[in-house]
């Protein structure tokens, strides 16, 4: 394990300290917690709180700031934060207009955030929650914990952050989220698994000539292991899955995200984006916006994911609304 760390058990605390050090003009840490909250809170705006296990940087703290998240709560690596931490996040974020929790669909995250919601409501704070489940690699969602929440969550952060900034009420932001989430779908591929510092070895092993389609952002297994494919072949597979899931129709508008999983250079992400472009040229849909980069990573996993969001109403405008966070 080649990592620039100290004690594996201390990585989250030290990372948060480094994050605040680097961004102290914009954010602060709620003392004795793993909550990062923006400094320039806006009274009367709906607050957005997200988070989950650590290891997905820049998600989620890198998206805290004007126009996106109000606070981010970090658990241990790949482990949901506990209800009391999320509660601290809710309390720190509340700007008097209620709090929306944006949760990636994992059993642990859902239960911990839900308990925090109950605790916060008992303290008189209005809280809504939105569970993002964009990973279409999990097909059979009636016999599983359901589709996982992955990179598409970032689109929810961005658009609902813009909506909150525009002054929508908690109810309106939540309704927009309910409409948005089913329109977001993602699918990924991994060349290597992530190594959790406290575990010290990769979550699974891929041979030098192997890769796996559909892997989750905590090294959950995918749907197909195969020999290494070219970027163009990978684009064909991933676009194909998304096309089937959306059933592309004429004149539909989409937004697109190519997400690096941690150890994949930007060069490769752009090459892949180009292959996605070539695949989509044959389709009747129109791509309104695109973003490429490391947004929802999985520690040092080598791989990429592709997300599409089917746009409605003024969603593209929300995407382009200005934002002031560390990693946009």
């Amino acid at each position: 394990m080649k990592k620039i760390i100290n004690q594996p058990s201390q990585v989250v605390d030290e990372m948060l300290k480094g994050f605040v050090y680097a961004n102290d003009e914009r954010v602060e840490r709620v003392p004795e917690t793993s909550v990062i909250v923006r400094k320039d809170k806006k009274k009367g705006e709906v607050a957005l709180v997200s988070g989950g296990g650590s290891g997905h940087e820049p998600a989620h703290a890198g998206f805290v700031g004007d126009g996106m998240l109000t606070a981010a709560v970090s658990g241990e690596v790949f482990t949901s934060p506990s209800p009391d931490q999320v509660l601290e996040g809710i309390k720190a974020a509340d700007q008097g207009a209620g709090v929306l929790l944006i949760i990636k669909n994992y059993t642990g995250d859902v239960m911990n955030f839900e308990m925090a919601k109950e605790l916060a409501e008992a303290e008189g704070i209005e809280v809504e929650q939105l569970v993002v489940d964009d990973d279409i690699a999990v097909e059979d969602s009636t016999h599983t914990a359901g589709r996982r929440g992955v990179a598409g969550t970032v689109i929810v952060h961005k658009m609902l952050g813009a909506a909150a900034k525009r002054g929508l009420s908690l109810k309106e932001v939540k309704e927009l989220g309910d409409k948005l989430v089913p329109n977001i779908k993602s699918i990924g591929v991994a060349m290597t698994a992530a190594t959790v510092p406290e575990v010290g070895k990769p979550g699974f092993t891929l041979e030098e000539n192997e890769m796996e389609y559909g892997v989750g952002i905590h090294s959950e297994p995918g749907y197909h292991r195969t020999s290494i494919k070219s970027s163009s072949e990978i684009a064909t597979e991933l676009v194909g899955k998304l096309k089937d899931a959306f059933e592309f129709g004429d004149n539909e508008h989409y937004g697109l995200l190519v997400n690096g999983l941690g150890a994949t250079p930007l060069m490769e992400q752009y090459i892949f984006a180009h292959d996605v472009e070539k695949q989509l040229e044959h389709e009747p849909i129109k791509i309104e916006f695109k973003k490429v980069g490391n947004l929802m990573t999985s520690l040092d996993m080598n791989g990429v994911s592709l997300t599409l969001v089917k746009l409605q109403d003024d969603w593209a405008d929300l995407w382009y609304d200005p934002v002031h966070v560390t990693d946009w």
Binding site: E76, V77, F78, S80, P83, H143, S219
Partner: protein
């Protein structure tokens, strides 16, 4: 009958077992989950030990409540809210009646199921809690019951929690949360000798 002393002693034995099997639990979780169950549990029971030592408890319900809060705030992941809910509901039941241990455990199971919505057979910790409590209620709980329950999670296909993403591939492996739950019951039985 739960007392402050035997409850504390029981939970400390549980803590010892988890600590001793931390790597084993994480290894099991690596196979069908994300490899952190041992670390999660170890973090939680360390906080629980500290709470048991530092916090005053006037009755066994208090002990269970302190344990619940520590587990809930330190385990994280899926098992944190589950153990936390189990201990919270056990505490509530112990407040009512500290003498009926089966009823206390039954309340714990119901806390787990309220929170996690798993039925028996979904390859979760429920698959240890459920048969163990049944055996306890009919006065037939032995270490074999516990071991058998754990072993019985092997052929199951996971349909809840992270292991469910493996589908068929989850068959043939032990459920990590079932194993950590078995330590709780083994620790209990050892106090009964």
């Amino acid at each position: 009958m739960l007392t402050v002393e035997n409850t504390k002693a029981w939970l400390l034995r549980f803590a010892e077992k988890v600590e001793a099997n931390k790597a084993h639990l994480s290894d099991l979780d690596s196979v069908i989950g994300d490899g952190d169950h041992g670390n999660n549990m170890a973090r939680g029971i360390k906080a629980m030990q500290e709470a048991l030592e530092s916090k005053e408890a006037s009755d066994p319900a208090d002990v269970l409540k302190n344990a619940s809060m520590a587990l809930l705030s330190k385990i994280g992941g899926a098992s944190g809210p589950l153990y936390g809910s189990a201990f919270l509901d056990m505490s509530k039941q112990a407040k009512e009646d500290a003498s009926d241990v089966s009823a206390i455990f039954r309340a714990g199971l119901s806390g787990i199921q309220k929170r996690g919505k798993a039925e028996p057979g979904e390859k979760t910790m429920v698959d240890v809690w459920h048969p163990v409590i049944k055996a306890l209620e009919s006065g037939e709980l032995t270490t074999d019951t516990i071991t058998d329950a754990v072993e019985a999670t092997k052929p199951l296909k996971a349909t809840k929690g992270r292991a469910s993403y493996l589908g068929e591939r989850s068959i043939g492996e032990l459920d990590p949360g079932a194993v950590s739950s078995s330590y709780l019951f083994e620790a209990w039985l050892e106090g009964e000798d």
